[in-house]
Subunit: 363 residues, 2 copies
């Protein structure tokens, strides 16, 4: 059951909690489409199993899987992961999934419009009708009521501190391929109403060559209220340098909804990660889906980690910077167990661990 | 999550409760296939909505729906019915769905083999692979563990009193198209282990012309332990007369697992219900699916009702016997509200209200 509520969460006393607050569980979607995931998605499926298994140490995980892949997913996943049937166009639960809001007693869902990261203006595939139904289906399974927000938005394009602050990027939210009919002020008004936000921190760009049009969740995140982590490079010749530098300056001069200055931690990125020829060859070349070409640089970042109850699941890239990133995050998150999961196969599909997960906060 | 348990419910202290015991909720499947349901299943869908709405007065209802019909079902069903995506071959949750067992603290699921009422020897359609996955998928959604029983069985072919007695028919359970390699004693052993049964009452035949090979749930059921209701006719020229008479005699001489004689109540059937020409014409004629032909007699019976928390949802046929059946059932079930739902459109698909529902007992 799920009733559609004709109101806004703010009016009803609901807010979006920070990811670091206690979860009821985690939602994921199973990768399958061979025009995005190499070799029939078999390597990606193993990586998703590793991520689900890592999170399931800390909290309940639900994997949503199409009819065709259901039995294979059920066989590959451990018994402590719940598997439910759900059709989809791809496997980015962060972006097409629900945003949960809470009022201290109950959880509800905000269901955004989804257009596959740009619709007919540079979106990553067509159609996206099944993805757009995912949030409502999750709400029904969980028997929580639902708000329908009149805004094209992906969950990965926003981060909140749960205390009234939202962090996002202009590159994504003000892109003409998302909400061309809305001004920045109108977008802020909608986010304020649907997530209970009082203060916006607008970064400029996301990670270099990020196909999402610069989702914030790959470049910067809240560790806890007042504390953020930013992907970084010391290599001034890397196009990422200027992007991170500019965002660092914005963060330095920002204050949050509580009037605090931010504590900013730099997490050095891995060395450039390029698509290999044999990786590109494993992807079906299909018109209308973003091609995967050998030599293309991928938007690799340690910031695309996921916080769960008592844990942090962090992508690794078989890179010399892996151990440094894990150690720094462990220092920033002393109350959590930091777990690295090899994530190259997820990155090859266009995102990372944060992009394939969505938290359901404890009501 | 759902772990497969390599044991039997009896060994683990679980039993199948009677339908009249308290439920956690009801499971249903949405009708859709046009080679079984007339006019693209539109009239049947309205009837299923009426049944789900009637039950939802009393307890939570979950409707499982294919990808293709999901949005239509969500729109047609009231908000207090939960809708979840689940692929299927048809809509008989009683028969392909799980049998829940309980131990006073926990619920688990028994997952039988399903072969569409006879497999390649007179089964009603082909294939049935999606139906056969339904029980496991329900278990996963509910996060309950699962026993896999090595027996072809439909939920509608058994009734239990929750106190060690199981009632079934030889026509179905001993049919060569179900478990030809097993003797009656071997089938009893399996049912004893998986449902915690001590005493079997074997009726002979089910309702005349019942395409399920005589499911017990269309002819006789437990009102409560020690009390049964049997479909009946006073018309000696009706082929149903002899069937009911024979079963009456079996029931009269039977005792249950507690050593009790049974109190037997006759519920007079409706007048013969025949498929009309315009009804038959609305069904796609497809090789491999049971045809629906004008003039065929359907297996109409009031016994195919469903008990839910504080309620009984009973099929009606726009027949002079309707009010008598409702009144008699209300007298037998004074603690429940008896609700009639017009069910001709369900009957046209080959079953009735009990066949399209499956109870999940309270753990």
């Amino acid at each position: 059951m799920s009733f559609l509520i004709d109101s806004t969460p703010r009016k009803d006393g609901f807010r979006m909690p920070g990811e670091f607050e206690t979860h009821a569980g985690t939602w994921m979607l199973w990768p399958e489409r061979p025009d995005n995931w190499r070799n029939g998605a078999k390597p990606a499926q193993k990586a998703f199993v590793a991520v689900a298994s890592a999170i399931a140490q800390f909290e309940p995980v639900t994997m949503c899987v199409s009819q065709v892949q259901f039995r294979n997913a059920r066989n590959m996943l451990p018994g402590n992961v719940r598997v439910v049937e759900m059709s989809n166009n791809d496997s980015w639960m962060r972006d097409c999934g629900p945003t949960f809001v809470v009022d201290g007693k109950t959880a509800r869902v905000v269901d955004w419009d989804f257009n596959a990261w740009g619709g007919l203006l540079g979106g990553l595939y067509f159609p996206w009708d099944l993805d757009d139904q995912v949030a409502g289906k999750v709400a029904d399974i969980e028997r929580v009521d639902r708000y329908k927000a009149p805004l094209v938005l992906e969950g990965g394009s926003i981060h909140v501190d749960g205390q009234g602050t939202l962090m996002t990027t202009k590159e994504c939210l003000l892109n003409e391929n998302r909400n061309p009919d809305k001004t920045q002020a109108e977008i802020e008004d909608l986010l304020a109403g649907y997530l209970n936000i009082k203060k916006f921190i607008w970064l400029n760009h996301g990670v270099y060559n990020d196909e999402t049009n610069g989702h914030v969740d790959n470049i910067c995140c809240f560790i806890r209220p007042g504390v953020v982590a930013l992907t970084w490079t010391d290599d001034k010749s890397d196009p990422q340098y200027e992007i991170s530098q500019e965002n660092y300056e914005i963060l330095q001069s920002a204050t949050d909804a509580q009037g605090r200055k931010l504590e900013i931690h730099k997490i050095h990125q891995p060395d450039p990660v390029l698509i290999r020829a044999e990786e590109a060859e494993g992807v079906d070349a299909v018109e209308g889906t973003l091609p995967r070409e050998a030599g293309d640089r991928m938007a690799a970042s340690y910031i695309n980690f996921y916080l769960c109850n008592g844990g942090a699941v962090v992508p690794t890239f078989d890179d010399p910077h892996d151990s440094l990133a894990l150690a720094e995050l462990q220092k920033l998150l002393p109350e959590r167990k930091v777990v690295g999961v090899p994530a190259r196969e997820i990155l090859l599909g266009g995102g990372n661990i944060h992009c394939i997960t969505q938290q359901q906060p404890k009501a």
